[in-house]
Subunit: 623 residues, 2 copies
Amino acid sequence: MWGGISGFSLRRLLIGHPLATAQLRHERLTKIKALAVFSSDALSSTAYATEEILLMLILAGSGAVGLSIPLALGIATLLAIVAFSYYQTIHAYPGGGGAYIVARDNLGTFPGLVAAAAILTDYVLTVAVSISAGVAAVTSAFPVLYPYRVPIGVFLIAVITILNLRGVRESGTIFSIPTYFFVGMTLTMIGVGLGRWVLAGMPPAQPPQIDYPATHALTLFLILRAFSSGCAALTGIEAIADGVPAFKPPESRNAGRTLIAMATLLITMFLGITFLSHQYGIVPDEHTHETVISQLGRVVFGDGTLLYYFFQAATMLILVLAANTAFADFPRLSFFLARDRYMPNQFALLGDRLVFSNGILALALASSLLLVIFDGKTTRLIPLYAVGVFLSFTLSQSGMVARWWRRRGPHWWLKMGINSFGAMMTAVVLCVFIVTKFIYGAWIVVLWIPIFIGFFLTVHRHYQDVAAQLSLEAFGSPPPIRRHRVIVPIAGVHRAVIAALNYARALSDDVTAVYVEVDPNETLKVRRKWQEWGDGVPLVVLPSPYRSIVGPLVDYVDRIDDKRRRDQVVTIVLPQFVPARWWHHLLHNQTALLIHLAFLFRREVIVTHVPFHLHLNHEEQRK
Amino acid sequence: MWGGISGFSLRRLLIGHPLATAQLRHERLTKIKALAVFSSDALSSTAYATEEILLMLILAGSGAVGLSIPLALGIATLLAIVAFSYYQTIHAYPGGGGAYIVARDNLGTFPGLVAAAAILTDYVLTVAVSISAGVAAVTSAFPVLYPYRVPIGVFLIAVITILNLRGVRESGTIFSIPTYFFVGMTLTMIGVGLGRWVLAGMPPAQPPQIDYPATHALTLFLILRAFSSGCAALTGIEAIADGVPAFKPPESRNAGRTLIAMATLLITMFLGITFLSHQYGIVPDEHTHETVISQLGRVVFGDGTLLYYFFQAATMLILVLAANTAFADFPRLSFFLARDRYMPNQFALLGDRLVFSNGILALALASSLLLVIFDGKTTRLIPLYAVGVFLSFTLSQSGMVARWWRRRGPHWWLKMGINSFGAMMTAVVLCVFIVTKFIYGAWIVVLWIPIFIGFFLTVHRHYQDVAAQLSLEAFGSPPPIRRHRVIVPIAGVHRAVIAALNYARALSDDVTAVYVEVDPNETLKVRRKWQEWGDGVPLVVLPSPYRSIVGPLVDYVDRIDDKRRRDQVVTIVLPQFVPARWWHHLLHNQTALLIHLAFLFRREVIVTHVPFHLHLNHEEQRK
């Protein structure tokens, strides 16, 4: 019946009816499905990684774009190292080895919190970057929509949010479609593009189609900036290691093989796109805002062909799916943190539909805000992106190093060596990120992560304090209450007052009515009526020279309440109108509320409202 | 001590300390002071009335401005008629004859409410128009301030608001200064201007200094629009009739003479300004935004002279004073309406400083809003202005006609004739207003006044219903409560729960603890702890398949609560944390609040919170 209140009907329509706890179950995924579910984030980054490298290089003029090939090879190598490093984590943590858990278990609580802050921040950025890139795939095909990119992006986030609030059940099968659609379209595009190049006698790369003048010198700094931007391709690679328990047994082995398959696909697609873009002379277009990958698709499949539009749709869908991944991961990590008392309790609650609704809503809000602030432009978000991921990579690999050092299993020195190399590489890249992207936006993340950690620690200290204050250890039971004084403040004598008085008399034999006198003429009327209706309860009249109702009442309770006696309690019983319409509240003085607030911070005084329900009109009451 | 809470210190600084009711007293005014206090609204309108006429006439080209003289004479005649009509009201209503009271007494409640709605609306416009014209006096002298007219205006309203919230005591003396300063400066300006004209051999009027092309034909409609705009000069003429009791005795005689003095001054100043503007060829300047009266002052006193700046300062001051008048009148009329139960009760409360604070704040808010919406431009506000005043003039005079007809004193037919003529004239002008100003903004007022009246009637019906529902007439005392069941919902077993349980046991012997089970593992722990701490109180465990805490609790109370028995009551005693910092609330589930809300609309169930005060940290608690 609680769910039947009218305001909740829209919510029911969008979110659906509540699900029973018993319905909570986990689907085990085959490798094929798992690849689709866990790799959308990583694979989808090929849709913008090449473009971000080129955007940096063209600052040094069109001649510098050739550097994209060695940079892509460097990034692919880094990717292989990180993947190999995570392959070990998968086998060490068959229960799921997220960076928070690995760092906390092996390095201690604080590094764990740093990893958690970093990765939660990056989940927000994953949504913002993926959605803005997904909208860019749409506006590349239909340039007329470009001015509406922010509302379209916010709308897509809203749709994902609602789907996640409903709870996405049949995840494996449905999620396979966009991922394999994108993988298929991209591999086809690369195959056709390479085929044409081979058939044409493998000509050297065409010069860039747009001639950009050099506005910056081609410094090492600029090359490292291009490398940093391209490293966005590595985000999401940790997803499989986080989700090992979702695999069919043997979980670790299946997850490890899926990771290798994903890394291979990702490297192939990223290198293929980068190579072909260079061959066909494709560079970002500042005027049409068309993405590099859309230009490439147009050249390879032909402008206006069905295949080109399929390719754009596939790009958009996998990017939306990548954003959706964060909607599963962010609430889950928030739940772990809330369970460990580092985030507010609300994030640990399973909602009606067995999902962590508060985490979903927090992510939707934060990512929409980013989308609006950064005007829905992927390039403006990229400097903030991947900083958190690489920080968590480093901490997670370091945690594994510490683990091998302590446990010393077979081949421990080899395993430790692999993770050490991974940790060092990601640490170096993290430093490169911070140096090259700092002034372009990374400072926001560098500033934000410590604030976020401070928040975790403050929340934790608060919960610990509360638990200590509530603890029954060394707690002597309070003495039973011997004297219970009940005060009924009245503003007149009417039915609501009589109802409150009747209730007060049921609580205690020690009842006093109190009237605060503002106008002496009124007092006479009240006294006369009280004679008739007060039923012998004494009436105290308090003068109020300043017309305040609350002040004299507080002073009166102060006078009668002996705070040294723990076996005495004072209850204030207030008649409270409950109007038939919410706006009727505005037509009544909120004196009852003010009295409640005045006593809220005073120990030993309890304020009780006795509701008196008003009808819509007098006639209705008679019924 | 209630006033000592820190959030209130800024309020105390601005508004001052509370005043005792005994300090409420009324100052009786001499004719000299009363003229100053009551006529600022009326006299200040000469600062913009001429300009508004000219602004309409120049639409028909510069050649049409000569019509300002006959139009001003027409308006002056109307003014004399209205003043004479009000002279009679003063003698008939020595207790103060505001339009609401006169219309209500003689025509009935509904016409009274129409007059009240009309005049309250016009008070808001008086503030907006006077402040925007006052700011125009400043920006005419210092054009660099013109872009800041809206913030300056809002700042002036804020200052007036604070002064009025403090309560303006020494009104008479202080208010005399700006009024007589303005009257003196204006009469000096007119005298000097006429003197120059006579000395120059009374030359014919100069052609307009700026040549405006005719964009509209000089139709009767345009002439009537100019007349309507100029009628703003009549606003405020009713102020003396409203305030008769403030005069020294014999009140009516003194008030009547003051009215005649005011009308004479107003006609002299208005005609003088209009005549001289015509003689010196002054027309509104669309580029410099300098007011007509400022241009006139510059020509007569000389550009940059001290006298010119004095004249501008005087204009500004009387306009601010005119706005201030509304800050006395609006809250007073709101009080009358609230006392009669047509406005929310809050408007009938005397604040700390013996002023009707809510009325003052409502007026400040509404007029600031108008200032912002109409961009601080007097001309854009004028079409809305005076519609309400003329509606209330008409109703008030009609009320007087009805009064003479009923009472038939000596010369009743003469007196009735005068008031009939006044009512007819103002009714005709009102029709002219509505026709000529409708599309330019008057429609807002025409639409608003019925809405406002509807609001009065809705509020009134609500209060009547509540009074009927609370009435003790034909009310049998409720039976004493025989069974008092107390339910203590618990989420665990800790100190706050023990405190609530202790209190519950003081209320009744029939106490049951209720635990809503979400996780069966937790239930075992709770049961074990309850064995130790529950002190024999039975514990009921409710299953909650959908994880809702509120739902199963409501169902349980429904089951045990026999609604047919009026001698039985159920109280729910909830432990309530009171955190040491307000934001700590965000870290706790608001389950207690949700439970309270769920039961608020259910009769016979009372929810009591037992506050458990948390300290800032565990160590502090030990102290």
